[in-house]
């Protein structure tokens, strides 16, 4: 554990702007700036927030035979998604599954013409790369000379268009290579906040310059990991290692939508990924437990690990909170948990907090309406 924390190319910028730095997945990352988590969260929902997500893994997957189809089919052997059907310049969400039908990681993959660009979680990056390297047909190239920024919020498009006019024409989940001051930026219209926005991969040599240029725009404030977590929680997005992990299946994580018909029974490329039999059978039959939204009564947040019960007294736990906290835009505490699928939306269950059982309403996800530019 004495291993030195890694620093992104924006470490000095974070410190200069008064960030409180914390260890996260082996990196020294800003959890908040002087604006504070609440202020940063609300700023992102009303203006634009700039997030340093350079800790995330960027990986190129290149077919050895020069045929993109080869790389697509190789990736489909690990990811239950339609990789082959993804058009050039487009990006999708997917999962790496394991033989026990659990989730190894979630990721974004983009078709870049002659190869794929993957973005994976920081804490899983080494494992994901090793996993990908088992594929014989592709070369796996970790991108080590770039940082990654996310610009999120209703003003993000207007702000980015000032620097990159072509960004304005991108749709949700488009992926483009755009030039800025001689640098090649890898831009996708996507994010992890429920807001319209962009994720921008920037060469290290230009990273601080580009970030400062964005921060000089009046609508933009730097946002830490604290608000990133509350924003994604409100948007109903699961966080790897919390709302899903190697013991949670895609259906249990409520991520079956990422597995298209073509990979399901009867589809042209059904199965063929780790754990396929169980994953697909469970999607067809419906899982016994699944990830849901929770709204506690009152103002007390229920956080990760809080046990959940069907009744106000007695009984065994029916699950536990996987992510929870205060939703600044919701104006109330919110949480997610994997609970029995037969509990209907609107039902009241109970969270045991400090020895007392607190009524909690089961709700659909997300807690806010996303505003993607489709």
């Amino acid at each position: 554990m004495a291993e030195e924390l890694r620093r992104t190319g924006l470490y000095d910028l974070h410190v200069a702007r008064g960030a409180r730095m914390v260890p996260f997945a082996g990196w020294d990352m800003p959890v908040q700036y002087p604006m504070g988590v609440l202020g940063e969260h609300l700023h992102t929902r009303t203006h634009a927030g700039l997030f340093d997500v350079s800790h995330m893994g960027q990986v190129l997957v290149v077919p050895k035979d020069g045929s993109l189809r080869t790389a697509a089919l190789a990736l489909e052997s690990l990811i239950p998604a339609d990789v082959l059907g993804l058009a050039e310049g487009r990006q999708r969400y997917g999962l790496f599954t394991n033989a026990a039908s659990g989730i190894l990681d979630d990721l974004m993959f983009a078709n870049r013409g002659d190869h794929y660009l993957l973005v994976v979680n920081a804490g899983c990056a080494d494992q994901d790369i090793a996993h990908l390297q088992m594929l014989d047909a592709v070369e796996v190239i970790p991108v080590t000379d770039r940082g990654l920024l996310a610009l999120q919020g209703p003003k993000a498009a207007a702000v980015l268009a000032r620097l990159l006019p072509e960004a304005a024409g991108m749709r949700f989940m488009d992926s483009r290579i755009l030039g800025w001051n001689g640098a090649e930026l890898w831009v996708s219209r996507s994010g992890y906040t429920g807001e319209d926005g962009f994720e921008i991969s920037v060469p290290e040599a230009h990273l601080a310059d580009f970030a400062e240029t964005l921060l000089a725009q009046p609508e933009v404030a730097p946002i830490g990991l604290g608000a990133r977590d509350s924003l994604r929680l409100e948007a109903g997005m699961p966080l790897y290692g919390h709302d899903m992990d190697a013991d949670v299946t895609p259906a249990e994580a409520a991520l079956g939508w990422s597995i298209p018909k073509i990979r399901r029974p009867g589809g042209a490329r059904a199965g063929g990924f780790p754990g396929a039999d169980t994953v697909l059978a469970q999607l067809a039959a419906g899982p016994a437990t699944t990830r849901r939204g929770l709204r506690p009564e009152g103002r007390a947040p229920i956080r990760e690990g809080v046990p959940l019960f069907a009744a106000p007294e007695g009984g065994d736990p029916i699950g536990q909170v996987s992510s929870g906290g205060f939703g600044p835009s919701v104006g109330a505490p919110i949480a997610m948990a994997c609970i029995p699928a037969d509990i209907p939306d609107g039902a009241t269950i109970h969270a045991e907090l400090r020895g007392k059982r607190l009524p909690v309403t089961v709700t659909p996800l997300p807690f806010i309406t996303p505003s993607y530019k489709r």
Binding site: G36, G298, R299, F326
Partner: protein, 119 residues
């Protein structure tokens, strides 16, 4: 004149009672406060007993009774406006306590000692 505890509470003697809140340093460390659970009025508490739950956007913390006594009043307005603790921590009092052995604050930290504590 305010006194302080090593648990980052401020104490203000008012007659035979002591009003208790948390310091600006504590409120900064906690981050934005979103929920506060106060003790019941009339409750008898021991020194060091956890009697307030304070939840920020980041985590839950406890506030302890600085001294043994009876809770005589609680600031119920905080339940609806927990952010007041961040906005003005010296005005956002949590509870008043009537100490069992008199309101002698001489054993607590003065301003200089508290400032030295938080460096």
């Amino acid at each position: 004149m305010l006194k302080y505890t090593e648990d980052h509470e401020w104490l203000r003697a008012e007659g035979d009672e002591i009003t208790v809140g948390i310091t600006a340093h504590a409120s900064e460390q906690l981050g934005d406060v979103v929920f506060i659970e106060l003790p019941e009025e009339g409750r008898e508490v021991e020194a060091g007993e956890e009697i307030v739950v304070i939840e920020s956007v980041k985590a839950a913390s406890d506030i302890v009774a600085p001294i043994a006594g009876v809770i005589t009043a609680v600031n119920t307005a905080l339940a609806d406006a927990p952010g007041d603790v961040n906005a003005d921590p010296l005005a956002a009092w949590f509870f008043r306590i009537r100490p069992a052995d008199g309101a002698d604050l001489s054993g607590f930290l003065d301003e200089a000692a508290y400032q030295a504590l938080i460096g």
